[in-house]
């Protein structure tokens, strides 16, 4: 019972029986169907529509265009709202946009009786555009004379920030005699989350005129706020319901099509309208991971001392701000945090609008990109000095006690070095590095590694707040309502374990209400960062302490014993002195409800405003076999070792790491969203977009270093996102070890590798 136990998921039964209801499963009969009309150009302006043919299609109920929507620009990022205007998310899009900013922008919507009618009509709508040349890359967008994607940002730079550490002058530091220098560009590609459930929602107006939206989201309370903002109506007039969701990974930490869905239902008299994206729309028109170009410089002494580094980050934001500069800023921060330069570091980050798919949150939030540049550069520096890359990392990586000079928090618990040593043993680093030293022939093997650190929540950059409500049932069992959401990561299960730990009530008597309903559920900003076990866990713990005090107070009344001497264990009130069971929770609860003397409905509710943060960290080790003539990388062995504090449920923790490693393998070797020169997506389907199948994924190994984190509610810290972070650079470094070829852009796909191997004269 409680924290640290490998219990089965609380929602597993519902999911293996097919009884778990996701948004589309809850849609009532008779809903109208909406289909979004997307622009067929990447940059321009809608001048007019010809709807005549489309309106003639039998079954079409209404067509709404960008000329019909409220003239309100709203933000979409799943961030807590800021009451200070300067810190509010950028409000740069409308429900439908006349100003087309990427190929696939939402310009109209068809409402019809069925999906065939809606699709037919959507195909028949004629659009007249004024076209501008598209700017697809950061370089194009920042070039002189580029068309501004948003008139408010004439140079297309959404934001530029700069920070320094120490001297903050790389060029000066690099002048020292005898230094080894690197000046290189590293690039990461645009990829997508690929949650298997596409974004889907349905909306209707209830008898009181309230708009009720059921949607597949990670952030129901934020969705409510943004719908209100987008439609220009009070937030309380909106009710958002979030049932089980089929994965999110950050894409659903953005308000995608819920405002449009809500608006469309108001356009047909409040009738229910379903808006389900296709997979193609999901890949082309929802969020992607920022493609980032990094210009890195570094200076190292021959003895391996890291003297100074300089990083320029150019983050391709795409058409709309979404999470915006937070990603690039995060990326630059990790570059700083993972290694400390003797003389300092400077970092410039630019987030740049382009006419391409909007980049938003995705598992790791800028850190997978940052870890690629940081760990590729580190590997290259180690090679330059001739020092074993693992030894080089041990020498230079972030040390225990580190505090970020700007964010003012650090590792409240530190296990990075232990992770490295554990992984070294597992992969047989020293033996393999020696064994694979002087290979010849077309097929070669190598081992590589990459480390990372990751901040658990978003404090102090953003507000961290969470709430929990507990209700004791008449039989002594417990209902928990969390504002935090289950999105597949196992939140409901670990919340029940935390409650069991704090309350002495066993998990089989704890029911976590999985559905969030903004009319009922207490507030939480949602599932993002790696905050839920940490921040929402603190809310749960605080609530549990309050509830426990009330329970023991009642027990004290009932037993006529001082509450201080009582505790709850295994569903019994016990005497702390001798651990004797005095009263069952069932008896206590029944009495509390129905007592003629003192009837109390025992409940508790608390908000936790979290003003702490801590770093998690870890390492990936990979062993690969590279078939050079075919450009194929086979992962022979791979392990992630994580420093994530105390594990609430080790079985689920391992499973979460598996998924992250797999996502990292896709990022490293195969995944990339492709577009033609006009910005039109080329591979917006799951056949041509290469996320790993079971045959591309090797056996995945996981280990942990469990150190109690004093700031974690149960000694825990981030685990949700970290597993996806170090894999791609570890693979890149393993291929480098195998072949001597350093690939500085992701992914390491076969054609690129063959080109590199040919250039190196290896094939």
């Amino acid at each position: 019972m409680g924290v640290g136990k490998k219990i089965d998921r609380v929602d597993a039964y519902a999911k293996v029986t097919g009884e778990a209801k996701y948004s589309a499963d809850l849609a009532p009969d008779g809903l109208l169907v909406a289909r979004v009309v997307h622009s067929k150009i990447a940059n321009g302006l809608v001048k007019s529509f010809d709807l005549d043919e489309a309106l003639k299609v039998p079954g079409v109920v209404k067509i709404v265009t960008c000329f019909d929507v409220p003239d309100i620009q709203f933000p979409t990022a799943g961030h807590p709202w800021s009451v200070e205007a300067a810190h509010q998310d950028v409000q740069d899009r409308k429900i439908l946009n006349q100003r087309v900013r990427f190929y696939g922008d939402d310009i109209a919507a068809v409402i019809a009786e069925d999906e065939v009618a809606a699709s037919r009509a959507a195909r028949l709508i004629k659009v007249v555009y004024e076209e501008y040349p598209p700017v697809l890359t950061v370089d194009e967008a920042m070039a002189e004379g580029a068309v501004p994607v948003h008139s408010e940002y004439p140079d297309n730079i959404l934001k530029h920030t700069r920070f320094t550490v120490g001297d903050g002058d790389f060029e000066k530091a690099a002048k020292e005699n005898g230094l080894l220098l690197i000046d290189k560009v590293y690039e990461t590609q645009r990829v997508q989350h690929c949650h298997i459930e596409v974004p889907v929602s349905f909306a209707y107006q209830d008898a009181n005129g309230k708009i009720v939206v059921t949607t597949s989201t990670q952030i129901p309370h934020i969705v409510r706020r943004v719908i209100g903002q987008a439609l220009g109506i009070p937030w309380g007039k909106i009710r958002v319901i979030k049932p089980y969701i089929g994965g999110g990974f950050g894409n659903k930490q953005d308000v995608l099509y819920e405002p449009l869905n809500a608006f469309l239902c108001t356009q047909v008299g409040g009738r229910g309208v379903r808006l389900e994206l296709t997979r193609e729309e999901t890949l082309a028109c929802t969020r992607v991971r920022h493609a980032v170009k990094f210009h890195a410089k570094a200076a190292v002494r021959p003895d391996g001392t890291l003297v100074s580094r300089k990083l320029e980050v150019f983050s391709n934001q795409g058409a709309y701000a979404s999470h915006g500069h937070a990603i690039a800023a995060n990326a630059a921060n990790m570059f700083k945090q993972l290694y400390q330069d003797e003389k300092g570091l400077e970092a410039d980050s630019y987030t740049v609008y382009t006419n391409s798919a909007t980049a938003g949150a995705m598992r790791g939030y800028g850190i997978p990109q940052s870890d690629f540049v940081t760990e590729a550069l580190t590997e290259d520096l180690a090679r330059l000095t001739g020092i074993d890359p693992l030894e080089y990392r041990l020498k230079n990586c972030v040390k225990e006690g580190y505090v970020d000079p700007h964010l003012k928090f650090g590792f409240e618990s530190y296990g990075l070095k232990e992770c490295i040593l554990k992984g070294r043993d597992f992969i047989h680093w020293d033996e393999k590095r020696a064994e694979y030293k002087d290979q010849t022939g077309p097929v070669r093997r190598g081992v590589g590694m990459a480390i990372f650190c990751y901040k658990t929540g978003v404090y102090p950059i953003s507000l961290e707040t969470a709430s929990c409500r507990m209700v004791l049932n008449q039989d002594g069992s417990l209902q928990i309502q969390m504002g935090a959401t289950e999105i597949g990561q196992g939140a409901d299960t670990v919340f029940s374990q935390m409650a069991a730990e704090s309350l002495g009530i066993t998990e089989d008597r704890i029911y976590v209400v999985s559905t969030q309903d903004t009319d009922i559920t207490p507030f939480d900003t949602g599932a993002y960062a790696s905050r839920q076990t940490y921040v929402s866990g603190k809310a749960l713990k605080k609530t549990a302490e309050q509830l426990k005090a009330k329970i023991l107070d009642y027990a004290s009344y009932k037993l006529k014993l001082p509450a201080e001497g009582l505790d709850i264990r295994d569903n019994y009130i016990v005497s702390m002195a001798d651990n004797k069971s005095l009263l069952s929770m069932e008896e206590l609860a029944t009495e509390a409800f129905y007592s003629l003397d003192r009837s109390v409905h025992i409940t508790a509710e608390a908000t936790y405003h979290c003003k702490e943060n801590t770093f998690a960290s870890g390492v990936c080790f990979a062993e690969v076999e590279v078939d050079m003539p075919l450009g194929k990388v086979k992962v022979l062995n791979i392990i992630n070792v994580h420093d994530s504090g105390i594990l609430i449920n080790p079985k689920l923790a391992e499973a979460q790491v598996h998924g992250g490693i797999s996502m990292g393998i896709g990022y490293g070797l195969s995944e990339i969203l492709l577009y033609d020169k006009n910005g039109k997506p080329l591979n917006d389907n799951l056949l041509d977009y290469k996320m790993p199948t079971s045959m591309d994924t090797p056996d995945l190994h996981v280990d942990f270093v469990q150190i109690n984190d004093p700031t974690g509610p149960y000694g825990n810290k981030a685990l949700g996102e970290p597993p996806a972070i170090p894999v791609a650079p570890a693979l890149r470094n393993a291929v480098l070890h195998a072949t001597g070829v350093a690939v500085d852009s992701l992914p390491l796909d076969p054609q690129k590798l063959v080109e590199h191997f040919k250039a190196a004269g290896l094939i």
Partner: protein, 295 residues
């Protein structure tokens, strides 16, 4: 729900031929794994379908008395792979179609559909080329036999007339007896792939197993249609199994193919694969034919 104008479910082959003749715009649908996708993406939206999905006489595999293997075209990929005749006599074909898409696609997709859609990436096609398969087309004027080498006219185009149905795929004994074969599908992933390149080799060795008696070198995606490298095949006849043989096959293929660049892969990359896969497929085919590489 699919945007289909109407669907006619044919009872048998003559019924299907008649239905197609009556409707010059109708599209034949067999397993559905290509046609339904094209309807959904809009290319065939609003079309009329003649379904041959449930016609029993178009399914199954048998062997004639003379050893000719008859594959009925609506046989699913997985039924081909698991068929005892295929496993025993032409395992290379069973292996090839076992690499189509995914297990579920292999349960629904048919070899006839794979050939008739005319695409160069069809996993069955290069092996059928290597096996000199003969296709039987049945139309209003009876049946005709078309060697697979003459079946393709261009990308997505075949000699099949609108009202014709593919009713048989035949492989005669002299085209498999004594041969060893091997198919390599090259995709970026190891499953759920459309071939970046496919190479199928069928080889018969001399009785001492030391030299090539007969070689068939076939490719998919090396040209607008599946193809054979006939000049290379002739050039290596009677060559000893040796490093020179593999070099000659790899380089020979390069002179005969005509791959194109697309966003999926560059011409240069495909050429690299053509040379390398030709060699590798031949090596395995030699082993499958009872030879050894150090002969």
């Amino acid at each position: 729900m699919y945007d289909i104008e109407k669907i006619y479910q044919a009872k048998d082959v003559p019924d299907a031929v008649r239905a197609l003749a009556e409707n010059p715009d109708a599209v034949v649908i067999s397993g559905g794994s290509d046609v339904l996708i094209q309807i959904r993406e809009g290319r065939l939206a609003g079309c009329s379908l003649v379904s041959i999905h449930n016609i029993a006489e178009l399914k199954g595999i048998e062997m004639d008395k003379d050893g000719t293997i008859l594959i009925r075209p609506a046989t699913s990929f997985s039924h081909i792979t698991n068929n005892d005749i295929i496993k025993k006599y032409i395992p290379v074909l069973g292996d090839a179609v076992d690499q189509v898409g995914s297990p579920q696609i292999r349960n629904i997709g048919t070899v006839g559909g794979n050939v008739c859609n005319g695409v160069t990436s069809a996993d069955s096609a290069s092996t059928l080329f290597a096996l000199n398969a003969v296709l039987e087309l049945t139309g209003e004027n009876g049946t005709r036999q078309v060697p697979i080498g003459q079946f393709y006219k261009g990308p997505g185009k075949t000699v099949r007339e609108h009202s014709e149905i593919l009713t048989a795929i035949r492989i005669t004994k002299d085209n498999y007896d004594g041969f060893g074969g091997h198919y390599i599908k090259y995709g970026k992933r190891n499953a759920m792939e459309i071939a970046t390149l496919g190479c199928s080799v069928s080889v018969k060795l001399t009785p001492d197993k030391k030299a090539i008696e007969d070689l068939r070198l076939a490719y998919g995606v090396a040209a607008p249609t599946p193809m054979r490298c006939t000049e290379t095949e002739s050039a290596v006849k009677e060559m000893k199994i040796s490093p020179e043989l593999f070099e000659k096959v790899g380089k020979g293929a390069l002179a005969e193919v005509n791959p194109r660049s697309s966003w999926r892969a560059s011409k240069e990359f495909r050429l690299q694969l053509i040379e390398e896969l030709g060699k590798r497929a031949l090596k395995q085919a030699i082993i499958n034919a009872g030879g050894t590489l150090d002969a």
